[in-house]
C-alpha cells in the first residue's frame, strides 16, 4: 500500500541516475516516500531498498539517524518550536509552554484529530528573528502567543493550504536535468583520466 507510486518510481530512477553510486540516493528517496505517505513506512523502506540494491536494514539504519524522518503516523502539520539559545533568550520556552497549553498536548505528540504534531526543535537558522517556529519546515518569525493562536486557527480552517503543503513535502520545485545538457554520473572506478579542460601536466 505504501510502496512508492508508479509516478514516484520514475522520479526515484531519475534521482538515482544522478549519483555515481546508487546508495547516495538513499536519503532523497526516503524523503520522496515521506512526501507520498506523510511518514516513512516499512513497505516504503523495503521498496527503496529494492530500488537501491541494498537491504531494508541498511535503509532503516541510515534513515533512523536523521530527525526529519518519522516512522509513525504524523500530523498533517508538524510544528517545530526552536529552543536553542537565541530563541530561548527571546522567549522560545514560553512559546513552547503556550503551545502545549493551547493544543492540549505535550511536545512530541499529536492532537487527537491527527492534524498537528508538536515538537521541540533545535536551531532553525533564523536566529535574528527569534523566537521562531516551523510548520512543516516553513519558517514563522518573531512568533508571539497571539501569532501562534492565529497560525493554529488558520491551519485548522485550511486557509494556509497554498503556503504550507502537508508534512513530508520539501521544496515543491524539483531539480530537472535536461538530457541534452547532462554530463552524467560515472562510477569513480570508470574514470581514470582528468577532465578535458585540465591540461595534462608534462610527465
Amino acid at each position: 500500500m505504501s510502496r512508492l507510486s508508479d509516478h514516484n518510481v520514475v522520479v526515484a530512477k531519475e534521482i538515482i541516475a544522478r549519483y555515481p553510486k546508487k546508495k547516495s540516493a538513499l536519503i532523497p528517496l526516503v524523503h520522496l516516500s515521506q512526501q507520498q505517505n506523510g511518514y516513512v513506512t516499512d513497505d516504503a523502506m523495503r521498496h527503496v531498498a529494492e530500488l537501491l540494491d541494498v537491504t531494508p536494514a541498511e535503509v532503516y539504519g541510515t534513515a533512523s539517524f536523521y530527525e526529519m524522518f518519522r516512522f509513525e503516523p504524523t500530523g498533517k502539520y508538524l510544528i517545530n518550536i526552536c529552543g536553542t539559545m537565541s530563541c530561548a533568550l527571546m522567549g522560545g520556552d514560553d512559546l513552547m509552554h503556550h503551545a502545549e497549553h493551547t493544543l492540549g498536548i505535550r511536545a512530541g505528540s499529536t492532537t487527537s484529530d491527527g492534524l498537528i504534531t508538536l515538537q521541540h526543535a533545535e536551531c532553525q537558522a533564523a536566529c535574528t528573528e527569534a523566537p521562531t517556529l516551523q510548520v512543516n519546515y516553513r519558517h514563522r518569525y518573531r512568533v508571539t502567543p497571539q501569532a501562534f493562536d492565529e497560525l493554529v486557527a488558520d491551519l485548522r480552517a485550511g486557509v494556509l493550504d497554498a503556503e504550507v503543503p502537508p508534512h513530508g513535502t520539501l521544496g515543491r520545485t524539483r531539480q530537472q536535468i535536461p538530457a541534452d545538457r547532462a554530463v552524467g554520473a560515472r562510477h569513480p572506478d570508470d574514470v581514470t583520466e582528468g577532465p578535458v579542460w585540465i591540461p595534462v601536466s608534462p610527465a
Binding site: 536523521y66 537565541s86 514560553d94 536551531c123 536566529c127 520545485t173 530537472q176 547532462a182 582528468g194
Partner: protein, 478 residues
C-alpha cells in the same frame, strides 16, 4: 527562561524577502542582490553582472583561476577559517575523478547566513560552484542543503533548472570544453553532518558520522574515496567577485590576514538583531553590537553581560573583549574563535546557567554517538546542568561537570580574561578526545559560564556541608 518578549518595537528589515538583513554603505560582495525582491531569478542575476565571473574565469587557464583564489586569501566561512585556495591545493596530483561538495547544512546555533544566500541569491552560489569546479578540475558537484529549508530547496532548484536551460551548467558550458553537473541533495536533520567527513558519509547514503582521521582532509580522500573539495556556501559565494574583479580588488577590502567581507548574524538581546555583511578583520565586536549601522546597542538600555562570538561552539566573551576585531588569530589569543559568524548577545537580565543549558542540551541532542566521551559525556553534562538549573544540584555536581569536561577536553580549556574576576585569558584551541568538535562544544558553553559567572552557579547549588543527612531507612537501627 526569560519572560516572553512583548515589545513590538524591534526594527524589522526593509526587505521582507530577506528577513533580518539590513543594507548599509559598506562594501557588499555577497549580499549585493539582497535589495531586489527578485534577486533569486536568472533575469535579475544577469542584469546585475551575473555569470561574468564565470566568463572571466573561462577565459583563463584553470591554474590561473586557482592562483587568483589563492592570492585572495579567501578564508573558509564554515567555522574553521581555513584558506580555500590552500584547501584546493591538497588534492593529490593525477587522481581522478575529483568532486565538489557544497556544505549548505547550516545549523550551528546562532548562524544565519547560508540560508539567506541560498534563498536570495542562488545563482551567485551556483556561479561559485562552477568557478571552483573549473579551477580545481572537479567533474561533479553536489549541493548539499540542510533538509529543514524548503524555501532554499525551491529557490536553488529553480535556479539550477534555469541555469541548465541557459547553458551555464552541464556539457560544454558557454561553448567551452568545460562540463560539470550540479546535483541538488537534501539533508534530513542532523547537526553533525556539517562536519565535512560526516557530510560525505551522509552523501554516500550512510549515517552522518564523522570519519576517523587521518586522512585529515577530504581533499585527499573524500566522497567515494576520491579527492573531494568541501566548501561552505558563503565561501563559494565570494568566488564570482574574485574571478571578475581579481584578487587585488578582494584583498583591498579588510585586512591582509582576513580580507574581504563576511556575513555575521547578531541575535539575542540587542535593539536591532540582524544579518550584516561586515568588513573582515577590522570591524570590532563593539562596532557590531553598538554601531548605528549594526545592532544599535543592548535592548531596553540594559548592560551587556556576555556574548557568544562565533556560534554555539565558541567560548564566551564579556564586555572586556568588545574591542577585539573579527580577525581569527586575535580572537583565538583572547580565548575564543570566530567560527561561523554568529554572535549571540546576553544582557544583564540573563539567567546564565539557563542560557548555558540551552547550548549544552543542543550538543547533547546532536551527538552522533560515535565517540564515547561525547555520547555519554554530553548527555551527562546536560543532565547535570539541568539539575542545577532546576534547583536540585549540589556543589558536587559542579565538580562532576569539571571531571566530565576533562574527559572530553583534557588540559587547559580556553576562556576569556575577566577584569572583574582577575582572570587571564587561556588561548584557543583545546585538546579533545573525540573525532569532531561536537563533543567539546557541549562542554564549551558550560565551561565559559562557570568560569565567567561562578557566583550564579554557586547561588543555585546546595553546599555539601549544609546538606541534611540522608534519612536512615525506618527500622534500621543506628
Amino acid at each position: 527562561m526569560s519572560t516572553f518578549n512583548e515589545s513590538t518595537d524591534r526594527v524589522v528589515s526593509p526587505y521582507p524577502w530577506a528577513p533580518g538583513y539590513y543594507p548599509s554603505d559598506r562594501p557588499a560582495i555577497v549580499t549585493s542582490r539582497f535589495q531586489y525582491e527578485d534577486g533569486h531569478t536568472l533575469e535579475r542575476y544577469l542584469a546585475t553582472g551575473g555569470y561574468e565571473g564565470l566568463r572571466a574565469a573561462l577565459a583563463k587557464s584553470p591554474s590561473e583561476v586557482a592562483d587568483e583564489v589563492k592570492n585572495s586569501t579567501l578564508l573558509g566561512r564554515g567555522g574553521a577559517g581555513f584558506p580555500a585556495g590552500t584547501k584546493w591545493g591538497f588534492t593529490p596530483q593525477g587522481v581522478w575523478p575529483r568532486y565538489l561538495v557544497v556544505n549548505g547544512d547550516e545549523s550551528e546555533p546562532g548562524t544565519y547566513k547560508d540560508r539567506l544566500l541560498m534563498e536570495c541569491d542562488p545563482h551567485q552560489l551556483i556561479e561559485g560552484c562552477l568557478i571552483a569546479s573549473y579551477a580545481a578540475g572537479l567533474s561533479q558537484c553536489f549541493l548539499y542543503i540542510r533538509g529543514e529549508m524548503p524555501l532554499a530547496h525551491e529557490r536553488v532548484a529553480t535556479a539550477l533548472n534555469d541555469a541548465y536551460a541557459a547553458g551555464y551548467i552541464g556539457t560544454n558550458i558557454l561553448g567551452t570544453d568545460f562540463s560539470v553537473d550540479i546535483v541538488l541533495h537534501y539533508g534530513a536533520g542532523a547537526y553533525v553532518v556539517g562536519e565535512e567527513t560526516a557530510l560525505i558519509e551522509s552523501l554516500e547514503g550512510e549515517r552522518g558520522m564523522p570519519r576517523l582521521k587521518p586522512p585529515y582532509f577530504p581533499a585527499a580522500v573524500g566522497l567515494y574515496g576520491q579527492p573531494t573539495i568541501v566548501n561552505n556556501v558563503e565561501t563559494l559565494a565570494n568566488l564570482p567577485f574574485i574571478a571578475k574583479e581579481g584578487s587585488a580588488a578582494y584583498t583591498a577590502i579588510g585586512t591582509p590576514t582576513s580580507p574581504g567581507t563576511r556575513m555575521i548574524a547578531v541575535s539575542g538581546h540587542v535593539v536591532r538583531p540582524g544579518v550584516y555583511e561586515i568588513v573582515n578583520g577590522s570591524t570590532t565586536f563593539r562596532d557590531l553590537l553598538y554601531g548605528d549601522d549594526f545592532a544599535q546597542g543592548i535592548r531596553d538600555g540594559n548592560d551587556l553581560k556576555a556574548f557568544v562570538p562565533g556560534g554555539g561552539s565558541a567560548p564566551w566573551f564579556t564586555a572586556d573583549q568588545l574591542d577585539i576585531p573579527f580577525e581569527g588569530p586575535q580572537a583565538g589569543a583572547a580565548g575564543s574563535m570566530l567560527g561561523s559568524g554568529a554572535v549571540m548577545v546576553m544582557d544583564s537580565t540573563t539567567d546564565i546557567p539557563a542560557a548555558a543549558l540551552t547550548l549544552v542540551r543542543f550538543y547533547a541532542h546532536e551527538s552522533c554517538g560515535k565517540c564515547v566521551p561525547c555520547r555519554e559525556g554530553g548527555t551527562w553534562l546536560y543532565r547535570l546542568v539541568q539539575r542545577i538549573v532546576d534547583g536540585h544540584g549540589t556543589d558536587a555536581d559542579l565538580e562532576t561537570i569539571r571531571q566530565v569536561g576533562e574527559s572530553i577536553c583534557p588540559g587547559d580549556m580556553p576562556h576569556a580574561s575577566s577584569e572583574r574576576l582577575g582572570l587571564d585569558a587561556v588561548p584557543f584551541p583545546y585538546k579533545m578526545t573525540t573525532i569532531c568538535f561536537v563533543g567539546p562544544s557541549a562542554y564549551v558553553p558550560i565551561h565559559s559560564a562557570l568560569t565567567l559567572f561562578p557566583e550564579e552557579f554557586e547561588a543555585l547549588v546546595t553546599k555539601r556541608a549544609e546538606r541534611r543527612h540522608i534519612p536512615v531507612m525506618a527500622g534500621v537501627a543506628e
